[in-house]
Symmetry: C2
Subunit: 97 residues, 2 copies
Protein backbone atom coordinates (compact mmCIF):
# COMPACT_ATOMS: atom_id res chain seq x y z
CA UNK A 1 0.00 0.00 0.00
CA UNK A 2 1.23 3.50 -0.80
CA UNK A 3 2.13 5.72 2.15
CA UNK A 4 -0.48 8.15 0.84
CA UNK A 5 -3.18 5.44 0.79
CA UNK A 6 -2.34 4.41 4.35
CA UNK A 7 -2.64 8.02 5.48
CA UNK A 8 -6.00 8.28 3.65
CA UNK A 9 -7.19 5.08 5.32
CA UNK A 10 -6.27 6.51 8.73
CA UNK A 11 -8.27 9.61 7.82
CA UNK A 12 -11.32 7.51 6.96
CA UNK A 13 -11.13 5.52 10.18
CA UNK A 14 -10.02 8.19 12.66
CA UNK A 15 -10.18 11.77 11.41
CA UNK A 16 -13.44 12.53 13.24
CA UNK A 17 -11.61 11.62 16.46
CA UNK A 18 -8.20 13.07 15.49
CA UNK A 19 -9.58 16.47 14.52
CA UNK A 20 -11.52 16.79 17.79
CA UNK A 21 -8.53 15.66 19.83
CA UNK A 22 -6.23 18.17 18.12
CA UNK A 23 -2.53 18.26 17.41
CA UNK A 24 -1.13 18.53 20.95
CA UNK A 25 -2.99 15.49 22.28
CA UNK A 26 -2.46 13.50 19.09
CA UNK A 27 1.27 14.21 19.38
CA UNK A 28 1.17 13.13 23.04
CA UNK A 29 -0.36 9.82 21.98
CA UNK A 30 2.28 9.36 19.30
CA UNK A 31 4.89 9.76 22.07
CA UNK A 32 3.13 7.09 24.13
CA UNK A 33 3.26 4.73 21.18
CA UNK A 34 6.99 5.44 20.84
CA UNK A 35 7.39 4.49 24.52
CA UNK A 36 5.50 1.24 23.91
CA UNK A 37 7.68 0.51 20.89
CA UNK A 38 10.71 0.94 23.15
CA UNK A 39 9.29 -1.59 25.61
CA UNK A 40 8.60 -4.09 22.81
CA UNK A 41 12.20 -3.65 21.58
CA UNK A 42 13.47 -4.64 25.01
CA UNK A 43 11.18 -7.66 25.19
CA UNK A 44 12.18 -8.70 21.65
CA UNK A 45 8.74 -10.23 21.04
CA UNK A 46 8.08 -10.19 17.27
CA UNK A 47 4.27 -10.04 17.54
CA UNK A 48 4.44 -7.16 20.02
CA UNK A 49 7.01 -5.39 17.84
CA UNK A 50 4.81 -5.66 14.75
CA UNK A 51 1.85 -4.28 16.68
CA UNK A 52 3.85 -1.34 18.06
CA UNK A 53 5.44 -0.46 14.71
CA UNK A 54 1.91 -0.48 13.25
CA UNK A 55 0.67 1.83 16.01
CA UNK A 56 3.52 4.33 15.60
CA UNK A 57 2.93 4.51 11.85
CA UNK A 58 -0.84 4.87 12.41
CA UNK A 59 -0.45 7.71 14.92
CA UNK A 60 2.15 9.43 12.75
CA UNK A 61 -0.34 9.37 9.86
CA UNK A 62 -3.14 10.59 12.15
CA UNK A 63 -0.97 13.50 13.32
CA UNK A 64 -0.08 14.31 9.70
CA UNK A 65 -3.81 14.41 8.92
CA UNK A 66 -4.46 16.79 11.81
CA UNK A 67 -1.81 19.28 10.61
CA UNK A 68 -2.52 18.72 6.92
CA UNK A 69 0.85 17.25 5.90
CA UNK A 70 1.13 14.77 3.02
CA UNK A 71 3.40 12.18 4.62
CA UNK A 72 4.41 10.48 1.36
CA UNK A 73 5.17 13.76 -0.39
CA UNK A 74 7.17 15.00 2.59
CA UNK A 75 9.16 11.76 2.85
CA UNK A 76 9.96 11.54 -0.86
CA UNK A 77 10.79 15.19 -1.11
CA UNK A 78 13.57 14.68 1.47
CA UNK A 79 14.59 11.04 0.82
CA UNK A 80 14.57 10.70 -2.97
CA UNK A 81 16.75 7.57 -3.34
CA UNK A 82 19.78 9.31 -1.84
CA UNK A 83 20.96 10.53 1.53
CA UNK A 84 19.80 14.18 1.70
CA UNK A 85 23.16 15.20 3.20
CA UNK A 86 25.82 13.50 1.05
CA UNK A 87 23.55 12.81 -1.97
CA UNK A 88 24.86 9.23 -2.17
CA UNK A 89 23.45 5.67 -1.97
CA UNK A 90 24.65 4.09 0.21
CA UNK A 91 25.10 7.09 2.44
CA UNK A 92 28.75 8.12 2.64
CA UNK A 93 28.39 10.39 5.67
CA UNK A 94 30.54 9.43 8.66
CA UNK A 95 28.68 7.24 11.17
CA UNK A 96 28.22 9.91 13.80
CA UNK A 97 24.84 8.60 14.92
CA UNK B 1 5.49 4.87 -3.10
CA UNK B 2 4.55 1.75 -1.17
CA UNK B 3 5.51 1.65 2.52
CA UNK B 4 7.52 -1.47 1.69
CA UNK B 5 9.45 0.33 -1.07
CA UNK B 6 10.23 3.25 1.23
CA UNK B 7 11.58 0.82 3.84
CA UNK B 8 13.67 -0.89 1.14
CA UNK B 9 15.02 2.48 -0.01
CA UNK B 10 16.03 3.30 3.56
CA UNK B 11 17.80 -0.06 3.67
CA UNK B 12 19.74 0.74 0.50
CA UNK B 13 20.79 4.16 1.75
CA UNK B 14 21.39 3.48 5.45
CA UNK B 15 21.46 -0.18 6.46
CA UNK B 16 25.29 -0.31 6.61
CA UNK B 17 25.08 2.47 9.21
CA UNK B 18 21.88 1.26 10.92
CA UNK B 19 23.13 -2.29 11.43
CA UNK B 20 26.41 -1.08 12.98
CA UNK B 21 24.60 1.41 15.21
CA UNK B 22 22.17 -1.25 16.44
CA UNK B 23 18.63 -1.14 17.74
CA UNK B 24 19.11 0.77 21.01
CA UNK B 25 20.91 3.72 19.42
CA UNK B 26 18.65 3.73 16.37
CA UNK B 27 15.65 3.85 18.70
CA UNK B 28 17.30 6.71 20.62
CA UNK B 29 17.63 8.66 17.37
CA UNK B 30 14.00 7.97 16.50
CA UNK B 31 13.09 9.53 19.87
CA UNK B 32 15.20 12.60 19.02
CA UNK B 33 13.34 12.97 15.75
CA UNK B 34 10.04 12.75 17.65
CA UNK B 35 11.28 15.60 19.89
CA UNK B 36 12.15 17.67 16.80
CA UNK B 37 8.72 16.96 15.33
CA UNK B 38 7.22 18.28 18.57
CA UNK B 39 9.24 21.51 18.25
CA UNK B 40 8.14 21.93 14.62
CA UNK B 41 4.50 21.45 15.68
CA UNK B 42 4.86 24.33 18.14
CA UNK B 43 6.47 26.59 15.54
CA UNK B 44 3.80 25.66 13.00
CA UNK B 45 6.26 26.07 10.10
CA UNK B 46 5.07 23.91 7.20
CA UNK B 47 8.52 23.34 5.67
CA UNK B 48 9.98 22.33 9.03
CA UNK B 49 6.99 20.08 9.69
CA UNK B 50 7.40 18.29 6.35
CA UNK B 51 11.09 17.75 7.06
CA UNK B 52 10.44 16.37 10.57
CA UNK B 53 7.60 14.07 9.46
CA UNK B 54 9.99 12.76 6.77
CA UNK B 55 12.71 12.16 9.36
CA UNK B 56 10.41 10.30 11.77
CA UNK B 57 9.19 8.02 8.98
CA UNK B 58 12.78 7.47 7.80
CA UNK B 59 14.07 6.55 11.26
CA UNK B 60 11.04 4.34 11.91
CA UNK B 61 11.83 2.44 8.69
CA UNK B 62 15.53 2.25 9.65
CA UNK B 63 14.63 0.81 13.05
CA UNK B 64 12.27 -1.69 11.40
CA UNK B 65 15.17 -2.75 9.16
CA UNK B 66 17.45 -3.26 12.16
CA UNK B 67 14.96 -5.55 13.92
CA UNK B 68 13.76 -7.22 10.71
CA UNK B 69 10.13 -6.05 10.79
CA UNK B 70 8.15 -5.51 7.57
CA UNK B 71 6.53 -2.16 8.35
CA UNK B 72 3.86 -2.38 5.64
CA UNK B 73 2.88 -5.92 6.55
CA UNK B 74 2.74 -5.03 10.25
CA UNK B 75 0.64 -1.91 9.58
CA UNK B 76 -1.84 -3.62 7.26
CA UNK B 77 -2.12 -6.64 9.47
CA UNK B 78 -3.40 -4.41 12.30
CA UNK B 79 -5.15 -1.59 10.35
CA UNK B 80 -6.97 -3.39 7.51
CA UNK B 81 -9.51 -0.65 6.58
CA UNK B 82 -11.17 -0.84 9.99
CA UNK B 83 -10.42 0.16 13.56
CA UNK B 84 -8.78 -2.93 15.11
CA UNK B 85 -10.84 -2.46 18.29
CA UNK B 86 -14.44 -1.82 17.13
CA UNK B 87 -13.97 -3.23 13.59
CA UNK B 88 -15.75 -0.18 12.13
CA UNK B 89 -14.98 2.65 9.67
CA UNK B 90 -15.22 5.31 10.89
CA UNK B 91 -14.12 4.12 14.29
CA UNK B 92 -17.06 3.93 16.72
CA UNK B 93 -14.96 3.65 19.87
CA UNK B 94 -15.56 6.38 22.44
CA UNK B 95 -13.10 9.28 22.12
CA UNK B 96 -11.04 8.44 25.19
CA UNK B 97 -7.77 9.55 23.65
Amino acid sequence: MHIKEFQRMMRQIYFHHDSRRGKAKTYAWLREEIDELGEALEENDKKALESEFADVLAWLASLANVVNIDLEKAALSKYDTKCPKCRKTPCACPLSK
